[in-house]
């Protein structure tokens, strides 16, 4: 289960990971970097963040207070761009959830040998 919240602001977004199971963490860690088909990457980090310039979503990795950190991006060019980024982030995370369900190795930077089909759901809170 990966539950995230993305909120629209004026030419800005906030992003927060509410819930992230160990299996999601393990999968992304095993990959090193999960690469979605839209060019976005997903990485485990100390605290969640959406880095628009680097097209990277950082998920929870600290098991601490920083896991609930709200990531902010503002002064985006337009609300059109904002909505485009939101869509891209959602799409990349949905793809990650699907990959965890049925791992697609080409998305991973590093291969790993264990491949056990697992069931994950991807929840989007708005």
């Amino acid at each position: 289960m990966l539950t995230i919240q993305i909120e629209q602001f004026e030419r800005g977004i906030t992003f927060q990971v509410h819930n992230q199971t160990a299996k999601i963490t393990d999968y992304v860690k095993s990959c090193g970097t999960f690469r979605a088909s839209n060019g976005w990457k997903v990485v485990i980090a100390n605290c969640p963040e959406v880095d628009i310039r680097a097209k990277t979503v950082y998920l929870q990795g600290s098991n601490g207070r920083r896991d609930l950190r709200v990531s902010r991006n503002w002064d985006l060019i337009s609300n059109y761009n904002r909505d485009k980024y939101i869509s891209q982030v959602n799409s990349a995370l949905a793809e990650l959830a699907n990959a965890v369900n049925a791992p697609t190795w080409q998305n991973c930077d590093r291969f790993f040998n264990q491949c056990t089909p697992r069931t994950y759901t991807f929840a989007y809170v708005n």
Binding site: Q5, E7, F9, E10, R11, G12, T14, Q16, H18, L68, V70, R72, N73, W74, D75
Partner: protein, 172 residues
Amino acid sequence: MKVYHVNNPSSPDLICFPVPAQSRGCSFPGLSWGKTVHLEYMLKKHEKALAFQVVRQSSAVSSFLQSGNRFQASNGLIIATGAATHPGWPDRGGNYPEYMESANILYLQGGNRDDGKIDTTTIDNNGRRDRKFKIVESALKEFVQFIKNGQYNRYTGGTEEKFFPQTGVYTL
């Protein structure tokens, strides 16, 4: 610096005008007859957090705050700004829209490059977060009303456009 309280029951008969230097009416560069006062903001709930952004702020609001005034809502929240355009402001922070929960102050736009910033406040539980949400929301509504109340009467005593509050009791 003045702090304005709205409907303070301890001294309901006192009336002051937003800028006490004027004997009648006030000069706010951004406020003119019939002009609409805008204070558009976004306040959203996150898990154990609030996110706040000022989207649009009329110059009347900025003028009021940058004249060294603060507004205290009936729930106690103080609305202020610490703009770069107001040097010497004694408080820490306030150079961009920010909710300082511990100090019970909400800073609005101050007219600098960080005016569009999204501020986030971590709150230890969602019950408290919801209460704080209502406090901010209600204080902003009172504040807009406060500014608007001064909008519809204009004192035409000079070349500057001036106004004074039409209704409401503001205690100093």
